[in-house]
C-alpha cells in the first residue's frame, strides 16, 4: 500500500508556485496515447496475412472477425467510463492515469502474445476488453482536474485534452506503419513486435502524464480571477451527486444531445471516402478520397479545441444550438453539392460537419459542469459516454443500411446518400429540441453542506 501511496489524491495536491499550464500536457500524455484507437485499422490488413504473409491463407483471420476488436474497445470504453467514473473522481487523476497506462500497455502486450500464438480471443481480451477499460478510465481521468484548474476557461481546458484524443491517430498511424515496415521480413509480418514497442512507448508517455498531473489545493483559484457575481441561470454553483444526476431530465436531455450529434457525425466519418467517390465518380479518385479523410480528421481535431473554446464565450447551450442549426443546413446542402457537381462545396460541408462532431465531444464536459457542478463532473461525464457507444451503433447502421436500401430499389449510386443526409438533418432537429429543453437543475438535487456522501471525498 505504501509504495502506491504516491498515487493518492492527497499526494497529488499542487504546492504553491505550480503552474496550471502543466496540467494540459499531462492530460495530453494520456489522450494522445489512447487516441491510437482511431488508427487501429492500420493493423487490419496485416493481421489478415499473419500466416500467408503476402496474402491471406486458410486459417488467417478475416476482416469481419478483426472488426470486433474495435467494436469491443468502444463498448468497454463507454461501460468502463460509466462504471469506474466515481472511482476515478474520488481516487484522483494520478491513480486513474496510472491505472489507464498499465491497462493500455498490458492490453497491447496481451494482444502481441495473441498475435504470436495466433489466438484472436486473446486480442479481443487484450485490446478489446482491457484496452477498452483503459480508454474509458483514461478518457475521463483528466477532465474534472482540468475544469478545477481552469474555472475561467473550462471549455478551452477540456477541449485541449479531448483534442489529443482526436490527434492520437495522427501519431499512431505513421508510427505503426513505420514499425511494421522495420520488423517485416519475407516470413513475418511484424505486427507482434509493433504491438510490444507501442505498448512500451505508451506506458512511458502515460506515466509521465501521471507524474506531472496535480490537483489544485482546496480553495485555490487563478490569480486575479473572481467568479462572476451575476452568472447565467444555466451555470450552477451547486454540486449534484453522481447518481442523483442520472435522475434529472437534464442528464438525459444532454445524453440525447450528445448521442444525436455524434450519430450524425460518425455516420459520415466512416463513409466519407466511399461517399465522396460515389457522389463524384471520376472526379474524386481513391487517392483524393484518402486526402479528404485526412483533411476531415484535422477538422475533427481542430474542432475539439476551437468549439470548446468558443463555448466559454457564447455558452454551452448556444454552442450546441450552433451545431444543430449549422449542421442541419450543411447536411441539407450536401445532396445539392452532389447535384451541381461542386466538390469544393461538398468538402466544405463535410469539414465543418466533422469539426462540430469533434466539438460535441469536447464541449460536453463543460456543459455537465455548468449543470451539475464540479465535484462529480468526471463521474457524470463517464456515465454520459454511454451515449457515444450508442451513437457508434446508430450512425454506421443508418448510413450503411439506407445506402443498401436505396441501391436495391434502383436509386443511382451518386444519389444513394441523399436520403441519409436528410435523415441526419432530421436527427439534428431532434437534438435541437432536446437542447432547447435543457434548463437549470432543480435545487432538490443539489448537495447540501452536511450531506453524508461528502465524507471522504476531496473537494479539490
Amino acid at each position: 500500500m505504501g509504495f502506491f501511496s504516491f498515487l493518492d489524491r492527497e499526494h497529488t495536491v499542487a504546492k504553491p508556485g505550480y503552474s496550471r499550464w502543466l496540467v494540459p500536457p499531462a492530460a495530453l500524455c494520456v489522450h494522445l496515447c489512447i487516441g491510437q484507437a482511431y488508427a487501429l485499422s492500420v493493423f487490419n490488413l496485416p493481421m489478415t496475412k499473419l500466416i500467408g504473409i503476402t496474402q491471406s491463407a486458410p486459417g488467417d483471420w478475416k476482416l469481419t472477425e478483426l472488426g470486433w476488436i474495435f467494436s469491443l474497445a468502444m463498448l468497454f470504453l463507454g461501460s468502463s467510463a460509466a462504471v469506474f467514473g466515481r472511482w476515478v473522481e474520488e481516487g484522483g487523476p494520478r491513480r486513474a492515469m496510472f491505472t489507464a497506462g498499465c491497462l493500455w500497455a498490458g492490453g497491447f502486450l496481451l494482444s502481441a502474445f495473441g498475435v504470436y500464438i495466433h489466438n484472436l480471443w486473446l486480442i479481443y481480451l487484450g485490446y478489446g476488453v482491457i484496452g477498452g477499460c483503459a480508454l474509458g478510465i483514461g478518457y475521463i481521468s483528466p477532465v474534472s482536474t482540468l475544469i478545477k484548474w481552469f474555472p475561467d476557461r473550462p471549455g478551452m481546458a477540456t477541449g485541449m485534452a479531448i483534442m489529443g484524443f482526436g490527434g492520437g491517430a495522427f501519431i499512431a498511424s505513421p508510427l505503426s506503419v513505420w514499425l511494421m515496415s522495420k520488423f517485416n521480413t519475407p516470413t513475418h509480418v511484424g505486427v507482434m513486435e509493433t504491438f510490444v514497442i507501442m505498448g512500451a512507448i505508451y506506458f512511458c508517455f502515460m506515466m509521465v502524464g501521471a507524474a506531472i498531473v496535480r490537483v489544485p489545493a482546496p480553495g485555490w483559484k487563478p490569480e486575479g480571477y473572481t467568479p462572476p457575481v451575476t452568472s447565467s441561470k444555466l451555470i450552477s454553483k451547486n454540486d449534484v451527486y453522481v447518481y442523483d444526476a442520472v435522475k434529472t431530465p437534464q442528464f438525459w436531455l444532454i445524453w440525447w444531445v450528445l448521442c444525436l450529434n455524434v450519430t450524425a457525425g460518425i455516420g459520415v466519418l466512416g463513409q466519407a471516402s466511399a461517399m465522396s467517390q460515389e457522389m463524384f465518380p471520376g472526379v474524386i479518385t481513391p487517392v483524393a478520397a484518402s486526402g479528404l479523410v485526412g483533411l476531415m480528421s484535422l477538422f475533427n481535431m481542430g474542432g475539439r479545441f476551437a468549439w470548446a473554446s468558443v463555448s466559454d464565450f457564447i455558452g454551452r447551450k448556444n454552442t450546441y444550438f450552433c451545431f444543430f442549426v449549422i449542421g442541419f443546413v450543411l447536411y441539407i446542402t450536401v445532396p445539392h453539392a452532389g447535384a451541381i457537381g461542386s466538390v469544393a462545396l461538398f468538402v466544405f460541408c463535410f469539414c465543418i460537419i466533422i469539426s462540430m462532431y469533434g466539438g460535441g465531444f469536447s464541449t460536453v464536459p463543460a456543459y455537465l459542469k455548468d449543470m451539475f457542478g464540479v465535484r462529480y463532473v468526471g463521474a457524470i461525464h463517464g456515465l454520459l459516454l454511454t451515449a457515444w457507444s450508442a451513437a457508434g451503433i446508430f450512425g454506421p447502421v443508418i448510413v450503411n443500411y439506407l445506402r443498401e436500401y436505396n441501391i436495391t430499389h434502383g436509386v443511382p449510386k451518386a444519389q444513394a446518400y441523399n436520403n441519409t443526409m436528410y435523415i441526419m438533418a432530421g436527427l439534428l432537429v431532434i437534438g435541437f429540441i432536446c437542447n432547447f429543453f435543457v434548463k437549470a437543475v432543480h435545487e432538490r438535487y443539489h448537495m447540501k453542506a452536511n450531506d453524508p456522501r461528502l465524507a471522504g471525498t476531496a473537494k479539490a
Binding site: 508556485g17 500524455c29 494522445l32 490527434g167 501519431i171 505513421p174 485526412g294
Partner: protein, 40 residues
C-alpha cells in the same frame, strides 16, 4: 526565490509542452501532406 520558481516553472512548461507538442505537430504535418492529395 520567486524568480527561481518562475524560471524552473518555465523550463518544466517548455519540456512538458515539447514532450506532447513535437509528436503531435509531426503527426499533423504528416496528415496535412496526406490531405494535400485531395487538391492534386
Amino acid at each position: 526565490m520567486a524568480n527561481q520558481t518562475e524560471s524552473s516553472n518555465g523550463l518544466k512548461l517548455f519540456l512538458a509542452w515539447s514532450f506532447v507538442g513535437i509528436p503531435l505537430v509531426l503527426g499533423v504535418y504528416n496528415t496535412l501532406l496526406n490531405a494535400m492529395k485531395l487538391f492534386h
